[in-house]
Amino acid sequence: MKIMGAESDSDKLALDRYRGYLCSLARIQLAARPWLSPKLDASDLVQQTLLKAHAARDQFRGRSPEELTGWLRQILARTLANALRTFGQAKRDVGAECSLEADLDASRSRLDAWLAADQTSPSERAGAAERVAALTAAVARMPDDQREVVLLKHCQGLSLAEIGERLGRTDAAVAGLLRRGLQRLRELMTEVPST
């Protein structure tokens, strides 16, 4: 990592605050594409994203934190799309950048909603970033078939019937995977993280 000049240290630190958050988003996207997980690492993607953001910081015209995170998500989507193309997934994900951006937006707002509503252990409540990290880590460790259903819901908001169509399964089978997936997710989140 290249060290920037003194005048830009504060900017970089300001961007660094979003590292964990972007990491979680990236892990979700990678988890949705298990065939990539041996080749791509979420923290690498986020590192590239933050570097690009820093380099292009002059182009950022917004002011509010929401505008900043939106801009960062755009860059993450572009980075992810590039990586997909590199590993031969471009044909599979046509228009990848746009759809990735939309997926990331949806993913972010759903993670936020989850954060807002999750009241499972108020006494042991960790920081928002840690909780999102725990969730995404748990998602990454789910069995493939269950994770697939959960993430099709999370990233793309597909209906039961649409998921069934895509996976060639009945509605009941998809519902069962989703139910057991959530059960597994709960168990994984209560387990002490192994890493």
Binding site: R110, A116, R125, A128, A172, G176, R179, L185
Partner: protein, 701 residues
Amino acid sequence: MNPVESDDLDAITANILRAIERGEVPDAAAWVARHPAHAAELADFFADLDRFGPFLGMGSAAASDETVDYRQSADRAVDVAEGPHGRFGEYELLAEIGRGAMGVVYRARPVGTQMVVALKQVRAAGLDGTDAVQRFREEVLTASGLKHPNIVPIYHVGEQAGRPFYTMALIEGGSLESQLARFRDDPREIARLVAKIARAVHYAHQRQVLHRDLKPGNVVLDESGEPHVADFGLATKLNAAGASEGGPAAGSLPWMAPEAVRGDPTLTTAIDVWALGGILYELLTGKRPFPGETRSDIRHAILESEPIPPRTLVPGLSRDLEAVCLKCLVKDPDKRYESAMALALDLDRWLRDEPVRTRRAGPGERFARMCRRHPALVGGMAALGVLLVAGTLAALSVARAQEERLRGEVCRGNEFAARHVASTILGRLEQLGDPVLTAAGDPELHRACGANDWPAVENFLRMKLHTEAFATVYILDPEGTIRAEWPQRRTVVGQNFRDRDYFLGAVANADRRGRERVHLSRVFTSRNDGLDKLAISAPLRPTGADGPVWVLGATVPTDARLGLTGLHDARRKAVLLAPRDTGVPSQTSDYVILVHEAYSPGERPASLPSVKLHQVDTGFAADEDYADPVAATHPDYAGRWLAGFAPVPGTELVVLVQQRYDEAVAPQGAFLRRLLASVGGAFGLALLLVAGLWLARRRPA
């Protein structure tokens, strides 16, 4: 896991997910209750959905009583950069204790004190418009003006970092919702509790504040069990044009009044009275008055169904308390208690064992309610009913008129038949009378009588007059004393019978000519054998044309049919009547049944039954519902008969022809019975239809 069971569970899960995708909020408890075999798995699933639903982009899935504010954005995101705990202005936030649509409530401590309060702040996402901020301020200001021992007091209204908040007393006992079971089986305690809540609500109403979101979750109990109404969260100035205008009402659906569910812009205190009734109902029965698995089920129940009467769920419950409860839950706001205080007062009355002001609506009132709710149905039924009744009445009156006409015709037909029979009988009587007339004119008899030669008279009677047609033949002197008789019995010879009709009638005919001299007597009881008889008599003057009048008589045998045999047919029965000889030769209405089909040939009753006849212009008539007196000894003749009468000319005999009423008007009767049966059937079907519809409405599947 058993694969069959698994499939089943997955199918249920798919149904739940589809419901959520349709935008419904499934009632977790109801689903779990409906599938007890999977209760644990489904409960876990709902908990997981509740927790991870937002992550899946499905919102919180469990149907909750959480206040839903339709105006607010569904996006419940908060600023993730800010942790919920820690310092908040001059307060230290200790723990989150609850969430509503508009706010999060924390236990909080004013910095530097040992005091603990409840602090409610508006969520970040709720603050995107000035509308929400304005509403928040308004609600707090209105609620902070309320000071009542049963209303949670508000201490401090403020703003911290752009976030409005307020603090209020922290009541540690927990909400009524979590302690519903504590009150079960103690209706008096329930009544006391709800009366207190109602008084507090009334106090707010008097200050133009509607609660708008009353429910067990918004009533907190302190350590001593006193209720405190909390969260006038949606309270708004009664008359202030504002928050509630132009959109559906805010509130918690299961406790919302129908007018609020419909989005009626002018809500009144009646919606709080409704909610108080809902709280009372749930406390009494342990169930909500308008349950449903989905929001649309609940909406439908609130708008269309009557709650199951509490006594149906809790059989021993007081009828009056049930009435009080249901009076709050009447769909029409004007028919509920006019105020929360009125409800409190009625509960007080019940606690004092006095009769309550209201009572369960009678069947009439319930019917009226049903009429108002289903005007088209009831209108249609009413129209159908009116048509049926009118049609029936018309058909009945036509049928009656036809029956009347038919009856008249039958009677006239009988009368005609009777005249025919009468002429036949007249011929028969003339055959009997002629020998008597001839004998009475025989000089041999005159000579024997004139000479008082009784053996010669007897001989004459035996040789010239007596035949099988007559039981006895006899001669009376001008005094009315029987001088000779054949066959000889000598019991009546020498006895005087000057009062007998056969004597007087014959004497009266003494100056007539030809057959007019013959007299047919009224019926008398024979002194010979005690039987009822009639006689044919004729006058004679043995001593010359100006001499005293003697009478020759012949009694007709007791079993004579007088030619009536063969005059009956299957339906018409001919009967011969004769007036009874009372010893007074005047008009009589007492007629003896002389000849009747029921009498066996060769014998007849010792004492003949009689009948009262009225003389009318056309002859005779019997009573309207004439019954044959013979039925007393011959049950075959019981029942009503239609009778026609005809006098036998020149005599006092009357012929009666009778026909059974039922047979004569039988087709008419059958028609009437069929008509009544079909009308009854139609009514029955209509009633079943109404009852079915009503039940279907009451218990939406």
